[in-house]
């Protein structure tokens, strides 16, 4: 697979705690997109497409409000929750590689203060679809669903609570270097983690992503167009999106339960790119909750589940000394929960040499992985590199 498309711009709105944004979600989306386009050295008139996942900010409305160019392409992925972030990037890559549009914005805006809180449920008296089998028992939220997956994963492989803690500690550690991060200036200790209240066992409060308001965007264009813009282009080396047969069956009847829905994604990503886990110096792993990150690390091939307790120990997930720094902006837990799209921007920054926890020095890394939200099917991931 030849990466024909490149990422040339990144931008975000300020990130806020839920309810803290002075702007509406739509305004936040417009801010992020404007910033990404400016970062690329392009103008809004150069943008001819919009791609997202699970987003309610319609490109018809966006293009009118932003004064972008004629709309040539718009798309969203199906399902997956935050697992659609990488898939959205692959959609933009596909559109550009096929020639349907030259420059496309991929974005996600999410204001949980203005709209529905992901950690809340209620109001309804009847449950539909797969929810009919779970909601009557108070099985309502992503935390509870991912807790059910994580309990079994921990049981099968002897995963300790301290191993879950390592994921949260890595995100909070990295957030202390990133002034954009909501948790900048708010460190987390191992004691804080263990003493925090339970949400749904085995998840403490700090195993769970916060509910935030914000938006993040990237600009994707052709390699040719990307050659002489404001920033060095970042190649989409490979992307993958999907799931193995029956691994998305609801109500915990997935064939391979528990899974982060990454086995097929990993197989495709490494095959398409010609690279493997040992080539990856830094990775962003969408953390809705800590447990699924551990499953995703294993399914992407970085270690076997039985090796996890040792793999994450001694700060191995933390910059600058860890062997596999993850979520180097602070990620969903520390920087802000924009449904995982901030992780994609951070993967771009690691290639550019712009991260506040930069791996490999100012020149940036040659390969940078972003693995989208585990826990919901289908999965996706993108591998970025020098353009």
């Amino acid at each position: 697979m030849e990466g024909k498309a490149v990422i040339v711009g990144v931008g975000e709105s300020p990130y806020y705690k839920r309810g803290g944004a002075p702007d509406t979600e739509f305004q936040l989306a417009c801010t992020a997109i404007r910033n990404a386009v400016a970062d690329a050295g392009l103008t809004l008139a150069d943008v001819h497409g919009f791609v997202s996942y699970m987003d309610r900010n319609d490109p018809v409305r966006l293009s009118a409000a932003l004064g972008s160019g004629d709309l040539h392409f718009s798309a969203q992925t199906f399902g997956g929750g935050g697992n659609g972030a990488g898939a959205a990037v692959t959609l933009a890559d596909a559109a550009i590689s096929a020639g349907y549009a030259e420059s496309v914005v991929v974005f996600r805006a999410l204001a949980q203060g203005q709209f529905h809180r992901y950690g809340q449920a209620g109001g309804a008296s009847r449950a539909r679809g797969a929810g009919a089998f779970t909601a009557p028992y108070g099985m309502l939220t992503p935390a509870q669903i991912n807790a059910m997956q994580t309990t079994r994963f921990m049981h099968d492989h002897g995963i300790t609570q301290d191993t879950l803690a390592e994921v949260a500690l890595a995100s909070y550690h990295h957030a202390q270097y990133n002034p954009r991060a909501i948790r900048y200036g708010t460190p987390l200790t191992r004691e804080d983690y263990h003493e925090s209240r339970w949400i749904a066992e085995p998840f403490h409060l700090f195993d769970c992503c916060p509910e935030n308001d914000g938006a993040a965007a990237i600009v994707v264009t052709s390699a040719e167009r990307g050659r002489d813009l404001a920033k060095p282009p970042v190649a989409i080396v490979a992307g993958a999106h999907g799931l193995a047969h029956r691994d998305g069956v609801p109500a915990f009847n997935e064939r391979n339960f528990p899974t982060a829905h990454k086995r097929l994604v990993a197989e495709q990503l490494w095959k398409r790119s010609g690279f493997g886990p040992s080539d990856i110096p830094v990775a962003q792993f969408y953390e809705n909750f800590t447990g699924p990150v551990l499953m995703a690390i294993c399914e992407m091939g970085f270690c076997e589940p039985g090796e996890l307790n040792d793999f994450v120990a001694d700060g191995n997930l933390r910059w600058p000394d860890g062997g596999l720094p993850i979520n180097t902006s602070g990620g969903n837990l520390g920087e802000g929960y924009i449904h995982g799209f901030g992780n994609v921007l951070e993967a771009v920054r690691q290639v550019r040499g712009e991260s506040t926890c930069q791996v490999g020095g100012a020149a940036g890394v040659d390969l940078s992985l972003s693995v989208s939200g585990p826990g919901y099917a289908p999965g996706s991931a993108v591998l970025l590199g020098k353009g």
């Binding site: 089998f133 309502l140 935390a143 059910m148 749904a200 915990f252 009847n253 339960f257 528990p258």
Partner: protein, 134 residues
Amino acid sequence: MEYQVLPELTPYNRTWFTSGTLAVQHCPDCDVLQHPPEELCHQCGRTSLDTRELAPTGTVYSHTVVHYPADPRLTASVPYTVVLVALDDVPQVRVIGDLLGDPHDVAVGMPVVAEWSEHEVDGEVIRLPHWRKV
């Protein structure tokens, strides 16, 4: 736990939610069981499916003790425990339900048995399975 959310009935889930048995969807042609019920057989596409009643016993495959009430109507119910039960007859079929009794007395592999509660709605009785340690 006490909760007022009930399943919306469809032609495909009605037997499961009204029979007071573990009536798992079954394809008469393929003789396969599938759960949760779908609008057609995943193997052959047949749309007229029946059910097979499985024994109301199983073991806890996974669980979570819920402490945070995501719905204000659950405030008085926390902590409550939700279990994922692998049925003894067909362990590939896993059923979600709340655990009756001590919410903290739960472990993977624990044997459980189903009990049903009855809820009259719109002239019809919905019967929901719950689980209790054997």
